[in-house]
């Protein structure tokens, strides 16, 4: 990995929403970088802030109730501070996004070909015929059979997997250098999910597109990611390479996530490990480490605000927010021989 200028450099990103009940700190001091052609997985559960982060990069969270802090530099342009016009120019061109639900993400009354042509023509002065040609080729590339005919179909005439492929084709229509995928396979069947992931891997090979993959499924991540950022309660609690996160996880929440995955390649455990309790409200998170109430390893230092920093000299770039000494972490995370997890206390609210 060359130390070239990163494609995307997010520094101390903060997103607050003003609501009737108070200020929701949806994203709280998030920093990460994405290199050209790299796949970064942002993993977390509902309420972790991962989707808000992704949408903020695209400028889709701008509203009168939202306040932003920090920066997100796409090469030289700060996406957070950019004007609406600057943002509009790069959206759909340099940086593109695909969303979770392909059923509702396409306009039902316009043909899909027209919707893709629209995106091309928003950024380039291209004739209708030429744009249409490009669209047919794009559809063929993502594996849509009979593309020349299907280009005039309406979204409801496609199945979920096909619609997601159309979304991918649309996002890639202007050859973006960064693709943000927000839970792109969650709504799809397992075999179709495998196909779409295959498609995305292909994308990376062919066009060297960097991908930010937002998901709650660590399994999907193991297939495709180079680096992982684990988010909890608005913060990144751990970040590292794929192998570092899976084989040397440092944060108890990461242990919990890894532990609660059903492994089909292993013997069935007596009880499915889970993480007790629920994520804290983003209106009033605990002081210091947000994971404290659910962490069985909590101790005195945890009330102090933990920085996201590298705590393992041999692994630069592997950062986390846990106060425990590294040796302690490596000991405590093994709840059974060869089994990483956060041992659960029993079913609670």
């Amino acid at each position: 990995m060359t130390q070239s200028q990163p494609l995307l450099d997010v520094q101390h990103l903060k997103v607050d929403f003003r609501t009737e009940d108070g200020v929701v700190h949806a994203v709280d001091d998030v920093s990460f970088q994405v290199q050209p052609g790299e796949v970064l997985a942002v993993v977390g559960e509902s309420g972790s802030g991962k989707s808000v982060t992704a949408m903020t990069l695209m400028g889709l969270t701008r509203s009168p109730n939202a306040k932003f802090g920090g920066s997100a530099k796409l090469r030289d342009l700060d996406l957070v501070g950019a004007t609406d016009e600057q943002l509009r120019k790069v959206r759909g061109k340099e940086i593109a996004m695909i969303f979770q639900d392909p059923m509702t993400s396409l306009n039902p009354v316009h043909r899909i070909g027209a919707q893709i042509v629209e995106q091309i023509q928003a950024h380039e002065d291209v004739s209708d015929a030429e744009a249409r040609d490009r669209v047919v080729k794009l559809l063929e590339r993502v594996g849509i059979p009979r593309a020349a005919e299907r280009v005039d179909s309406y979204p409801h005439e496609f199945s979920g997997g096909m619609r997601q492929r159309v979304m991918i084709a649309m996002a890639m229509s202007n050859d973006p250098s960064l693709l943000i995928a927000d839970e792109p396979t969650t709504a799809l069947d397992v075999t179709i999910q495998a196909q779409i992931l295959h498609e995305m891997r292909d994308l990376r090979e062919r066009s060297n597109t960097a991908i930010i993959l937002v998901t709650h499924d660590l399994g999907v991540v193991a297939d495709i990611a180079d680096r992982i950022a684990v988010m909890y309660s608005g913060r990144i609690v751990e970040t590292g390479t794929l192998d570092e996160i899976f084989y040397d996880p440092q944060h108890p929440y990461t242990w919990g996530l890894l532990g609660s995955i059903t492994r089909i390649d292993r013997e069935r455990p007596k009880r499915l490990p889970s993480i007790p309790g629920s994520p804290p409200s983003l209106l009033a998170a605990p002081e210091g480490c947000h994971f404290r109430p659910r962490c069985r390893h909590e101790f005195g230092d945890c009330v102090k605000y933990p920085q996201l920093e590298g705590r393992i000299p041999e692994s630069p770039g592997h950062d986390d927010r846990c106060w425990l000494p590294v040796e302690e972490k490596r000991k405590r995370r093994e709840i059974a021989p060869g089994q990483i997890g956060l041992e659960m206390e029993g079913a609670t609210a």
Binding site: V190, S274, T348, A349
Partner: protein
């Protein structure tokens, strides 16, 4: 109650123990009307001849992707719709064609938990009303109702005062707990769970699955657990049935399914599940089954999976494979099965679960059935 592997041989035979649910050759064909005169031009073969039995205290996992018919089957079993053909017997009573009035008392014993925790609770009612409704409907005394609803809510892991709140004040996982409490209210015998954890985060899924297991032990419940993939269902099930395009492809004691999948579709499903272990993933040979499931309006001839199966041969296009019985109560509908020995294939018989229109041809062991399927797009991947 979870039946462990060592007890499998006894549990596997359908004759032992009390049969709570007996589904025989059930079909559900929905008519499609088109043309100017709105005539019935075709049928959606949502469920196409499914047979199985559920024993008391057992959990049967029903797995398949969209369009396989599992949801339609679960609704047919619940008698929310009437089957086009076949019979359903619950606790010894034939409920295939019974009317709504006669079905009423049965509803005590046959309950359902739904997939979407956000849509299945009435947003205008407090939890106490939602839980009290089934009790009041079935004549539980007023005084008892309050106590029972509070007991119920505690039993599913929430606190007593939660009964005064509205659904929107709870998270998805908590709402699903409430849905489970509602299903439990009348102490049913059988609970049909239609993808109860699909809409939840992974760690919450684990909490709910653990809760379901505890409740099964405490209340002596029988579960039909419908899911769309094989990872979640593994933990709760004693046996698992894999469905594709309205038919059962394979039915097996659950542990055995993961170690010894016989049907190529099951193998493909297992292979598609990403394993959270990068080193393993890099080595693992992954089968990417191409194309999409064909339309249930015009199912393929012979074996319905033949259009996407990398192992398909001429016979597969022509003859509907019987469900062949292998040791341990493991059945699979494939002419050229995987992971079976020569002896097993020779000894296999035609299971009574086989569809009526299936053939009698003995399966054949070909190539090296223990080698993983080679990846690739299947013959003539059908268009969407």
């Amino acid at each position: 109650m979870s039946v462990s592997i060592s007890q499998a041989p006894e549990a596997a035979t359908q004759e032992d123990g009390e049969t709570l649910l007996d589904v025989q050759h059930v079909k559900q064909h929905f008519p499609i009307r088109s043309g100017i005169l709105n005539r019935t031009t075709a049928h959606v073969h949502a469920v196409d001849d499914v047979t199985f039995r559920l024993k008391k205290g057992e959990t049967l996992g029903l797995v398949g992707e969209s369009g396989c018919g599992k949801t339609t089957l679960s609704r047919t079993i619940m008698r929310l719709i009437e089957p086009t053909d076949g019979t359903i017997a619950f606790d010894g009573n034939d409920i295939t064609r019974t009317g709504r009035r006669q079905l009423r008392p049965l509803r005590r014993d046959l309950q359902m938990v739904f997939q979407d925790p956000f849509a299945s609770l009435n947003p205008r009612k407090r939890i106490r009303e939602i839980l009290a409704a089934p009790l009041e409907l079935h004549g539980v005394a007023k005084g008892d109702v309050e106590k029972r609803t509070e007991d119920l809510i505690e039993r599913v892991g929430l606190s007593r005062e939660h009964v005064n709140r509205y659904p929107h004040e709870f998270s998805g996982g908590q709402r699903q707990r409430i849905g489970i409490a509602r299903a439990l209210a009348l102490e049913p015998k059988l609970i049909v769970l239609d993808e109860p954890v699909s809409a939840l985060d992974v760690s919450i899924q684990a909490q709910i699955v653990n809760l379901l297991e505890d409740l099964q032990d405490d209340f002596g419940l029988t579960y039909l657990f419908v899911a769309h993939d094989l990872s979640v269902v593994r933990h709760v099930s004693d046996r698992i049935a894999v469905m594709y395009l309205g038919k059962i492809m394979e039915l097996s004691p659950s542990e055995e399914l993961y170690v010894k999948p016989i049907h190529p579709y099951t193998a493909a499903l297992l292979s598609a599940i990403p394993v959270p272990d990068p080193k393993l993933n890099r080595q693992r040979e992954r089968i990417v089954v191409g194309g999409e499931p064909p339309s249930p309006v015009n199912p393929p001839s012979g074996c319905v999976f033949h259009t996407r199966c990398p192992r398909a041969r001429d016979l597969c296009k022509v003859e509907v494979p019987r469900l062949s019985a292998y040791p341990n109560g493991h059945v699979a509908a494939c002419h050229y099965p995987l992971n079976v020995t020569e002896a097993e294939v020779a000894a296999s018989t035609k299971s009574p679960l086989s569809p009526v229109n299936s053939g009698d041809t003995q399966p054949e062991r070909v190539e090296d059935p223990n080698a993983p399927l080679r990846s690739g797009v299947a013959v003539d991947a059908p268009s969407a």
